[in-house]
């Protein structure tokens, strides 16, 4: 069991290093960082001096080493565009994106898992066919269109909910939260639903497929043949076995939620990391792009390590 966790930890470190390397290569090779940092009026001599000071003439490996060590210490460099420290820029945006992502993921799980179970157990019912048709349309409508539709309906036509920004937020330490005011929640609903719908359809389809697989397995047939009550059969035997693979995928989905929040944030002008990333792409602000990547990969890796622990908790075969 420890070996299993240890192996996953090594893999995670490897993924992080690779992404850091990607971010560093971006910074180093996409355009010349010196020209980006300095203006047109800086002389060539000054540029060279800066280059030397920043260590850009050092061997590649030692530059990458320094970059990694700096990152571990929380020093992420400066934005080309705003000249602010990237760490601060990103840190101030993290709460908005995380809150949006967590609420969206919750929506997708709370609705998606029961729907998946239901459609797997009643594969031929009218409700199932309706749900399946709806989810098919759900995965076929781009997130931004869902956003536009929601804005149009609830924002423009009905005027019930705000269509951009986070509304009123409350600061808890450095964390700027929408969770503590009605206005904040109102502003959160549309973006979170927009972001959640796509994940919801994925979750539902996955749970359904796995559950149907499990329902055909020998141990379910055997449990049926022994007359184990249906409720126990479905929820104790089948659902638990369904969740083993599903949990892994949900871990992977969290990355998807964060990434797709780029689109949602753009539609709703939600001041999160995604919006920052979009701006940095438009202005080729390489340091911000690089750090964003590293942060996303970090979330992904942490969530997946947690998922692995959960995996061990559920499946006795891993607890040797």
């Amino acid at each position: 069991m420890f070996y299993f966790i240890y192996k996953r930890l090594i893999q995670s470190v490897f993924v992080m290093l690779a992404v850091a390397f990607l971010a560093f290569s971006l910074f180093r090779f996409v355009g010349d960082p010196i020209t980006q940092m300095t203006g047109v009026e800086t002389s060539v001599v000054d540029q060279e001096r800066l280059r030397e000071e920043l260590g850009l003439n050092d061997p590649f490996i030692s530059q990458f080493g320094r970059f990694t060590v700096d990152m571990l210490q929380g020093d992420f460099g400066y934005s080309f565009r705003t000249r602010q420290p990237v760490a601060e820029m990103i840190a101030s945006r993290i709460p908005a994106t995380l809150e949006l992502g967590v609420v969206a993921l919750l929506i997708s799980l709370v609705v998606g898992i029961p729907a998946g179970v239901y459609t797997a157990l009643r594969p031929r019912g009218v409700i199932t066919q309706t749900i399946l048709m709806t989810t098919l349309i759900g995965i076929s409508i781009p997130t931004f269109v869902i956003g536009i539709m929601l804005i149009f309906l609830f924002g423009v036509q009905l005027g019930w909910l705000p269509t951009f920004g986070r509304g009123e937020t409350v600061n808890i330490g450095f964390w700027e939260s929408s969770f503590f005011s009605i206005d904040g929640w109102r502003a959160l609903i549309l973006p979170a639903v927009t972001l959640g719908v796509y994940q919801l359809t994925l979750t539902m389809r996955l749970v359904r497929a796995q559950m149907m697989d499990v329902m055909r397995s020998d141990y379910i047939r055997f449990a049926t043949a022994r007359g184990v009550p249906m409720r126990q059969l479905y929820f104790r035997h089948a659902l638990a076995n369904t969740m083993v693979p599903v949990i892994t995928i949900i871990g992977l989905q969290f990355g998807g939620v964060i990434a797709f929040s780029i689109v949602t944030e753009s539609v709703f002008q939600w001041p999160g990391m995604g919006l920052l990333f979009l701006e940095s792409i438009r202005f080729v602000d390489i340091p911000v792009m690089g750090v964003y990547l590293v942060v996303i990969a970090f979330f992904f890796v942490v969530v997946n390590l947690l998922v692995d622990l959960l995996y061990v908790a559920i499946d006795p075969r891993l607890r040797v």
Binding site: L136, I139, P142, V156, V263, I281
Partner: protein
């Protein structure tokens, strides 16, 4: 004819699912419309001379003020909506299909080889796939697009937009193919016909492409369909974010972005007709993909 259909499980199921038949018809119509857009469309939306501002903002024909020359109305520039959509679909499909083709070749090749050779080669490919999984498709595509902006000189950027976009989408989708091909190859590798070929001393290329590939086409076909839909969605999303194609050569996503400006004014058709068209296209493709999945995995029915 009836007997012929009965003999093939796929065809038989097809004739019994009206939704799938409708989807197939819609998809085929859109493909034909897009392929022959220059001959079908009344105006060329890329050619500023072929339309006139005078015809701007005409509603669809069934609404008051609509005229039969522009069945689905016009945009603010006076472009016929039908023509814009056909040309837009042409571009979207072109990018989607090429991206899907590149991703298929790349992913299937690497996945087959990873499954066949196993060991270190497999480990390397799968670690790369892991990293790519940590950065979801849309992020990868945005990133590649961003890098292209940084590297390419501004003069050629506009000309290479379509190429960059296609590559960006292809590189963000290959992982699906690689993982599926690898998993299926592993299964096939344990089958005795592959072992027989190895024992005979047949070369790796022959075993991979003549023996294994035909046996794993089923799941790959499903992924190809689903990923074509993803590619079209991804292109639309990137264009919507203003990072894909520019307004002078609009794809479906660009048309929707332009239409957003008219959401609050009365000209609903500029936004909703392209949107409906895009959704219809993707829903049809996904329906077909689902159908194929059901045919190949009878258990999910």
């Amino acid at each position: 004819m009836k007997e012929f259909i009965k003999r093939s499980e796929g065809l038989w199921l097809f004739t019994r699912s009206p939704a799938v038949m409708v989807a197939a018809v819609i998809a085929i119509l859109i493909f034909i419309g897009a392929a022959f857009a220059p001959w079908i469309a009344s105006v060329n939306p890329y050619d500023l001379g072929s339309f006139s501002l005078m015809d701007g903002l005409l509603p669809p024909i069934w609404q008051e003020g609509g005229i039969s020359q522009f069945m689905l109305g016009t945009d603010d520039q006076g472009r016929d909506m039908i023509s814009s959509i056909l040309y837009g679909a042409r571009l979207s499909l072109l990018i989607g299909l090429s991206a899907m083709a590149i991703a298929t070749v790349l992913g299937v090749g690497l996945g087959l080889a990873a499954g066949f050779y196993g060991g270190r080669f497999d480990a390397i490919i799968m670690r790369i796939a892991d990293i790519q999984l940590a950065l979801p498709a849309i992020l990868t595509a945005l990133l590649i697009d961003g890098i292209a902006r940084g590297i390419l000189p501004p003069e050629v950027q506009q000309d290479l937009r379509v190429v960059v976009l296609t590559l960006a989408i292809a590189l963000s989708l290959w992982v699906n193919f690689a993982r599926t091909a690898r998993a299926s190859t592993f299964v096939e590798m344990n089958k005795e016909y592959v072992q027989a070929a190895i024992i005979m001393g047949q070369g790796p290329i022959r075993i991979m492409f003549i023996h294994i590939l035909p046996n794993i086409l089923g799941p790959l076909l499903v992924i190809m369909t689903v990923d074509l839909a993803s590619a079209i969605l991804l292109e639309a999303t990137l264009s919507f974010l203003g990072i894909g194609l520019a307004a002078d050569s609009p794809s479906l996503g660009t048309l929707i972005r332009i239409g957003m400006q008219f959401m609050l004014s009365g000209e609903w058709w500029i936004l909703w007709i392209p949107t409906l068209f895009l959704v219809a296209l993707v829903v049809s493709i996904n329906t077909l993909g689902d159908f194929m999945r059901d045919v190949f995995n009878p258990g999910l029915r």
